[in-house]
């Protein structure tokens, strides 16, 4: 049992606030991904959990034990470093067994655990070699094996795949996921790669400028971002954003986007109505739109400017009013630049964003508080 609880943790470097009042609960045996662009404070937060950089304020507890000011060795956790941090003067065997040796395990137990870890990572034949004549992928495996051999309840990973080439990264991603399912450690995995985050995590915590933006399951983070940043950071292509103006007449709530009018889904209409006469931002993902080659009742007319065939889909860049957006179509959908096109936007797929706070409106959105 190792639940990690982070209460109001802040870390300041000079006048730069790296982590700003972070609150996070990682449940026992959960795989949580800390995702964010570089410089967002995700590694700083991880290091605070590891004890490699003390938090300036707040409290970190693991399994109910306050570890905020404990030394890293006393926290019962292990870690995979971005640069792997393999000890270059030791054999792979000594590297993997290092933590156990420091913990004072007897030689027999160390040997057994090292062999186990090496077997898990398929590096048995590397055990007597030194890291200097090993490839990046092999070093990476050694780093993971070293962390797993500890059998710690908490496993921290700091961008473990970012130093691998693209193909190897893809392969290791799947293997790491399989491995960590069996290990049953509470895992915090830091990455800036949203695909890694979506594919590996039980939950994703998205960070920006030292603030945790949203903590949810990957599908939720993808489909229902809590704010404009999360929508734009996750997904490839990122979420499209269109500017509109709300017009309320009686019970009808409409939003004018350029020359087109879009009617919000009834579930959200009340929240949108609060912006009567004011601008509002619409967010919609490329693959949630349907491109048609003829006019339809609820379709918006657009002009194609770029066509990018990606194999599994064709990605169109289209002009709508003054905005640009990306629309995904079936690869057989034939279209050329400068063609006219009609795009359907299913109203339940549209996210409504307050342009001032950049927060996504929710059906339960308190109308009064927006005013």
């Amino acid at each position: 049992m190792a639940e990690i609880r982070i209460d109001n943790v802040s870390k300041v470097f000079g006048d730069h606030v790296a982590v700003n009042r972070a609150n996070l609960v990682v449940e026992d045996q959960e795989f949580l991904v800390l995702l964010g662009p570089s410089g967002c404070g995700k590694t700083t937060l991880l290091r605070a959990i590891a004890g490699l950089g003390m938090a300036d304020s707040g409290r970190i507890s693991i399994d109910g034990r306050d570890v905020t000011y404990l030394r890293p060795g006393e926290r019962n956790l292990s870690m995979v470093f971005q640069s792997y941090a393999i000890f270059p003067h030791m054999t792979v065997r000594d590297n993997i067994g290092f933590g156990l040796k420091m913990a004072g395990e007897d030689m027999k137990e160390i040997g057994k655990r090292v062999d186990e870890a090496a077997e898990l990572l398929h590096i048995e034949e590397l055990l007597e070699r030194r890291p200097s004549d090993m490839s990046g992928g092999q070093r990476q495996r050694v780093a993971v094996a070293r962390a797993l051999a500890m059998k710690a309840e908490v496993l921290l990973m700091d961008e473990p795949l970012s130093n691998l080439d693209a193909l190897l990264r893809l392969e290791m991603r799947a293997e790491l996921k399989r491995l960590l399912q069996d290990v049953k450690a509470t895992t915090i995995y830091v990455t800036h790669d949203q695909i890694e985050a979506l594919s590996m995590g039980d939950r994703i915590a998205v960070m920006k400028n030292g603030v945790i933006q949203q903590v949810d399951a990957p599908s939720t983070v993808y489909a229902e971002p809590s704010n404009r940043f999360v929508g734009s950071f996750i997904g490839n292509p990122p979420m499209n954003f269109l500017e509109g103006v709300v017009a309320v007449s009686g019970d009808d709530v409409n939003v004018n986007v350029g020359a087109n009018t879009i009617t919000p889904d009834p579930s959200i209409a009340r929240a949108v109505a609060a912006f009567d006469g004011k601008p509002i931002t619409l967010g919609i993902r490329a693959e949630n739109m349907h491109a048609l080659d003829g006019p339809a009742a609820d379709a918006v007319e657009v002009t194609v400017s770029v066509v990018e065939p990606l194999g599994s889909q064709n990605l169109l860049t289209v002009d709508v009013g003054g905005d640009r957006m990306k629309v995904a179509t079936h690869p057989t959908f034939e279209v050329a630049p400068d063609d006219k096109l009609w795009v359907q936007m299913p109203t339940e797929q549209i996210r409504w964003i307050d342009p001032d706070t950049e927060l996504v409106l929710s059906p339960a959105h308190d109308v009064e508080s927006v005013r």
């Binding site: 030394r71 890293p72 870690m79 270059p88 003067h89 290092f98 933590g99 420091m102």
Partner: protein, 461 residues
């Protein structure tokens, strides 16, 4: 259709251009002087004197005598005189002069160099004109004779007034040769001629010995002389003793200093500068500084006296307190040269990635365990460099020893080199000492490189 011309890749010239000056530098400033030094230590250029069958350098050899060999002198002869033996000649330079005789006629003949003051020289430095020197003393004959041959046995062809202006038209060396018999190294009796300047004649004039040879020979004489020198033992022992005491202390201190600098505890930002301050001082200055501390009315005694810890003034740097001199040298050397080791270790520490140390910390290693298992093994290459450098410098320790011990009571190898060269004027033995230091340095460097083997991994990071 035109054939595409096959392009051959040009060999890049730049590396070769860079190598050339390096080689020239090596040859001119390193290899050549070193070779000369080595030669001095093992080659005696006055080892043997060839004995010739006639009193002329062109004559053929009948044998050779070693330096110091006893000879019987049968007679002597000048090289510019034919045939007969003469006994009252001097080896001297002679000039052929053209001048006006005392009777007013033009004359030409030979006079020894001692009678002529050279006043005019050609571009190549050879004398071309001068005046006759006046003779001193009341009864001296004021006239200077010119001889038909360049020796005083020859016929006088003219007499010159003192201060007469002369033109020098030729010069030659009148050299006196001894006819000698002696027994050479092989026990064979040899008899022949040798120039008198190489032979020291005893008072009787009939016996003598070979003063110095004119031909060189490889010899171990100088090295033997060095080993048998009464200062060699003390010098060598003291050098090793200082090394054995100083180097371990120095490495412990330097390591501690480097770890402090690397860990950057609060308030230590200036430590690196403070620690490396002694590097800016010359070793002689440090020696004098420590002399001023340990001298009988120096800083140490002043402080002890002020604290009331001593009666009178204890004397530290004297022949009776040799150990105090050693202690003072050790302290001075520690103070002076530890920072060099520290700087090397600090640079080695900076090459260890932070993440490596963090990983060790995270996997439960305490500070001392990190030093023991991570830092020291990764510092191996730096420690090796520092050890080689320090050992070589330890063999060369000099100025501090001179300043604190005066070079008599406590002596070291380089001091003996200095003494042999400047005080005893024995280039060869000085050279032998220098070569001995070189051999020690090379041996120790080689030893360190072999035993403190750096593994590739540690060198790579």
């Amino acid at each position: 259709m035109s054939d595409p011309t096959p392009r051959t890749r040009k060999r890049p010239l730049t590396p070769y251009l860079l190598i050339a000056p390096t080689l020239i530098f090596l040859a001119a400033f390193f290899a050549y002087p070193m070779f000369q030094g080595l030669i001095l230590a093992v080659y005696d250029d006055e080892a043997v004197l060839p004995i010739l069958d006639e009193a002329s350098l062109e004559a053929s050899r009948v044998g050779e005598l070693p330096q110091g060999a006893a000879v019987n002198i049968l007679g002597q002869q000048g090289n510019t005189i034919d045939g007969e033996l003469t006994t009252d000649l001097l080896t001297e330079q002679w000039f052929r002069l053209s001048a006006t005789d005392v009777d007013g006629s033009d004359a030409e003949g030979w006079a020894p160099e001692s009678r002529v003051r050279v006043r005019d020289e050609a571009a190549d430095g050879s004398p071309i004109g001068g005046t006759i020197r006046p003779k001193l003393g009341e009864n001296a004959d004021p006239l200077t004779p010119l001889f038909a041959e360049p020796n005083e046995r020859a016929e006088v062809v003219a007499q010159l007034e003192q201060r007469a202006v002369v033109t020098i038209v030729d010069e030659t060396l009148l050299e006196v040769w001894f006819n000698v018999t002696a027994v050479d190294d092989d026990g064979t009796e040899i008899s022949g001629w040798a120039p008198s300047r190489f032979i020291r004649a005893f008072e009787s004039g009939e016996e003598g010995r070979v003063d110095r040879g004119s031909d060189g020979k490889f010899t171990s004489r100088f090295i033997e002389k060095m080993f048998n020198d009464r200062f060699f033992g003390p010098a060598w022992q003291t050098t090793i003793l200082l090394m054995v005491i100083i180097i371990p202390l120095q490495f412990i201190l330097a390591m501690a200093m480097a770890l402090v600098i690397h860990a950057r505890p609060r308030g230590t930002s200036g430590f690196l500068y403070v620690y490396s301050l002694p590097m800016g001082m010359s070793d002689l200055a440090v020696g004098i500084l420590f002399f001023s501390i340990f001298t009988s009315n120096g800083l140490l005694n002043s402080v002890l006296d002020f604290l009331g810890l001593v009666d009178g003034t204890p004397i530290y740097l004297s022949a009776d307190t040799r150990y105090w001199i050693i202690i003072a040298i050790v302290l001075a050397e520690l103070w002076r040269a530890t920072s060099i080791v520290m700087v090397i270790i600090v640079s080695g520490l900076q090459a260890i990635p932070d993440e490596t140390l963090e990983a060790a910390e995270l996997f439960g290693a305490s500070y001392w365990q990190r030093v023991r298992y991570i830092i020291l093994p990764l510092l191996k290459p730096s420690l090796q460099v520092a050890l080689i450098l320090r050992t070589i410098l330890a063999f060369q320790v000099f100025a501090v020893v001179i300043a604190l011990g005066g070079g008599e009571i406590v002596t070291v190898l380089s001091n003996e080199t200095y003494r042999q060269y400047f005080e005893l004027r024995d280039n060869n033995v000085a050279s032998a000492y220098a070569v001995f230091i070189l051999v020690l340095s090379l041996t120790s460097s080689f030893f360190y490189l072999r035993t403190v083997r750096t593994n590739d991994a540690a060198a790579q990071r």
